[in-house]
């Protein structure tokens, strides 16, 4: 798998980055984490993992009370109003190589995350220390932003701090201010076992210089041998594959929801809708497909041969 917590911590030590470590039972939410790590040790962070429609991924790491408006963020990235949503669980495992509840800026240490954009809350800079999970959710570490920056630079990343609460106008004469942080490459999460994640070979935009990466992450266990081409006409597969079909419907629904409904809880609502409805809708889509096929099949049996 990817970088382990211990590998990360020893890397920090090697770079002489000062940090404090807190061990606790595994926690899945900030509320739980707060029970074990007091705010006197540093500012807790909330870490969100998003994806856009073109399969590009983003980690947003913010202060707990910073309001992260997905609609605004999406516009500032130049993706329109409903352009981003929470990334699915598989992406967490595939790209960040961490478990649920463990999104963290440190995940970019993994090769698999090289095309994931990392945006950090500007407000972190006002804190003496900030708290993150070091790739495992039964440990938290606190360190200064300069420590975090040093680490990020050591893996070839330019630390990017952004005012996450700003809501600048985006229009014809005011280009989206965060568009420059949209990853250059999109990432296909493998559906067949023998796909390799990244699409292109060119380096991502937000790597400044070629730095030697620390311990190479282990080669993915899936071999590229006898690859069946998965790059199908994506338009066609939406109508052939019930699951893709449902994803398309829910994407459009979320988009509309984001553009029509105001308020903090829209993202949570969109996610709940998606989670609860996906299986129901897929079942319906399969029945629809079966019905259509059967009608066609029957028509085929009644088909008159072509006149000579």
């Amino acid at each position: 798998m990817g970088f382990s917590k211990d590998q990360l911590l020893s890397q920090l030590q090697e770079l002489e980055i000062d940090y404090s470590k807190y061990e606790h039972p595994p926690v899945l939410t900030v509320e739980e984490q707060a029970k074990y790590v007091s705010s006197s040790e540093g500012a807790l962070s909330k870490n969100l993992f998003f994806k856009d429609k073109k399969h590009r991924y983003y980690i947003i790491s913010a202060m707990v009370d910073t309001k992260v408006d997905m609609k605004v963020l999406s516009q500032r990235l130049g993706l329109g109003k409903g352009g981003i949503r929470m990334a699915p669980e598989e992406a967490l495992a595939e790209l960040l190589q961490v478990s649920l509840g463990c999104v963290t800026p440190f995940a970019v240490v993994n090769e698999s995350a090289r095309d994931v954009s990392l945006l950090l809350d500007q407000k972190f800079k006002n804190q003496t220390r900030c708290i993150f999970h070091p790739l495992s959710n039964n440990v938290s570490i606190s360190l200064s932003t300069s420590g975090l920056d040093k680490f990020l630079q050591s893996v070839g990343r330019d630390p990017v701090y952004v005012d996450l609460e700003a809501n600048p106008v985006v229009g014809k004469d005011q280009p989206p201010d965060l568009a420059v942080y949209v990853p250059f490459n999109s990432v296909v999460i493998p559906e067949l076992p023998n796909n390799t994640p990244s699409a292109q070979a060119s380096p991502p935009k937000n790597v400044s210089a070629e730095k030697t990466k620390p311990v190479a992450s282990p080669k993915p266990s899936k071999s590229p041998g006898n690859v069946k081409s998965v790059v199908q006409n994506s338009g066609l597969s939406v109508f052939k594959n019930p699951e893709k079909f449902v994803e398309e419907i829910l994407d459009k629904t979320s988009e509309l929801l984001f553009s029509e409904v105001k308020g903090e809880n829209v993202e949570a609502l969109a996610e709940t809708l998606r989670k609860r409805l996906t299986s129901e809708f897929t079942h319906l889509a399969v029945m629809y497909k079966n019905t259509a096929y059967s009608e066609g099949f029957y028509a085929g049996t009644q088909c008159q041969p072509k006149r000579p």
Binding site: K228, T282, H283, M287, N290, T291
Partner: protein, 402 residues
């Protein structure tokens, strides 16, 4: 490594009996699955295999895997190895259409197989053993064929993809390449061996004796030349209840001698009867089971009146000691059908420590089952005879691995 053990005869009730025609626990107690795995010689499905499935399919493993409903296997790890290398497999499962009334226990292998089909993107063949039921249950040929088609509708309602699924009934399909394989298999199994594996005796009619090859050969891709032409090495994975193991032990024994790959198996435990006694839910006792035709009212009544409770006799005693989760049927059923792991854990904790009462658990179960049965009924209503014909047509499935 296959060991051909002599099955205990049905009259020996001091030992548990598990074979395709009878399932009963020792002295009316619980089925000992560890002993069964030991006796049959199959493997336990452990966490590492489940994690592997999670990684290979990029989705959460099915609730039946997470909760240990499908708990045993043969060669599943090999199938996963090959899948990882890009070598796919196909699924084979079946039903003996002995009655029109399907209960939840019958749906379990189909629900799981549907998940396997979606998660691994592989094709599926479903065998309806109308000939078997005609012989064993003494049904007429016409009746067993009719039941097969009726059951096919319930199976289709579970949500199988017609572009990746071939359903066939023995009376319709046996012949050609399928029959050739049957004869090849039959030549490899002596009468004595068949009697040893299946418990046949001199009193049984010869139809029964000649049946096992019918259930064996769908494991071989060459039995379906319209589906897998030239793909003789394609591996087969069989999800089934563990009482079917004898058929496939025989098949695995014979396969190498025919130059075929051994089918892999993934096996489930039995869905307990509502009243908890006996080994498994039985279609012959209507109150032992929840049927897919039950109304919401029926379900509520059956659960309230017949579901064996592990709660204590009085509320005071219950709050003091908590429920006996080992024998409680509602909790057992929830562990099969309640998707949310956290909620299940919560219920087990609260109920086991006496804070939640039997009534609440039964109420939640009723909700879950009603929703499931309702969804099934709606899907079933959408299955037309044309759709059954389409699923059962001998046709190629060009997109079966997509």
């Amino acid at each position: 490594m296959e060991v051909d053990k002599k099955e205990e005869t049905a009259s020996d009730s001091s030992e548990q009996v598990v074979n395709p025609w009878e399932v009963s626990a020792k002295d009316g107690g619980k089925i000992d699955y560890d002993k069964l795995i030991d006796q049959f010689g199959c493997q336990r499905l452990d966490e590492s295999l489940i994690d592997r499935v999670h990684r290979l399919t990029s989705r959460q493993p099915h609730v039946f895997l997470r909760r240990g409903v499908f708990f045993a296997h043969r060669d599943f790890n090999e199938v996963l190895d090959e899948y990882e290398r890009g070598d796919k497999f196909y699924l084979y499962t079946g039903r003996g259409p002995s009655s029109e009334a399907l209960h939840l226990g019958h749906l379990i292998p189909f629900m799981f197989t549907k998940y396997l089909q979606e998660a691994f993107k592989v094709p599926l063949v479903i065998q309806l053993t109308d000939d078997e039921k005609c012989m064993w249950k003494n049904l007429s040929v016409e009746e067993s064929q009719r039941l097969a088609r009726e059951n096919a509708k319930d199976i289709i309602a579970c949500g199988f993809d017609v572009t990746k699924t071939f359903i066939f009934s023995d009376f319709d399909y046996v012949g050609g390449a399928f029959y050739k394989n049957m004869v090849k298999v039959a030549k490899c199994v002596t009468l004595n061996k068949a009697m040893g594996i299946f418990g046949f005796s001199g009193e049984d009619h010869i139809g029964k004796l000649s049946f096992p090859p019918v259930q064996a050969v769908p494991s071989f891709p060459s039995s379906f030349p319209h589906l897998f032409p030239g793909n003789d090495k394609l591996r087969c994975l069989i999800p089934c209840a563990i009482d079917q193991d004898p058929y496939f032990r025989m098949t695995r024994d014979v396969a190498p001698r025919l130059g075929y790959s051994k089918p892999a198996l993934i096996e489930s435990s039995f869905f307990p009867a509502l009243q908890a006694k006996n080994g498994k839910m039985s279609a012959s006792d209507p109150n032992s089971a929840i049927y897919v035709t039950d109304t919401a009212k029926d379900i509520k009544n059956k659960i309230n009146r017949y579901a064996f409770s592990g709660g204590q006799d009085s509320i005071e005693k219950h709050r003091e000691i908590g429920a006996n989760l080992e024998v409680d049927i509602p909790v057992k059923y929830l562990s099969f059908f309640l998707e949310d792991d956290t909620e299940l854990e919560h219920i087990k904790k609260e109920y086991g420590e006496g804070r939640m009462l039997t009534g609440e658990v039964k109420k939640r179960l009723t909700e879950v089952l009603t929703e499931m049965v309702e969804r099934h009924r709606m899907a079933r209503a959408a299955v037309t005879d044309e759709m059954v014909d389409a699923f059962m047509a001998v046709r190629p499935l060009p997109t079966m691995f997509e």
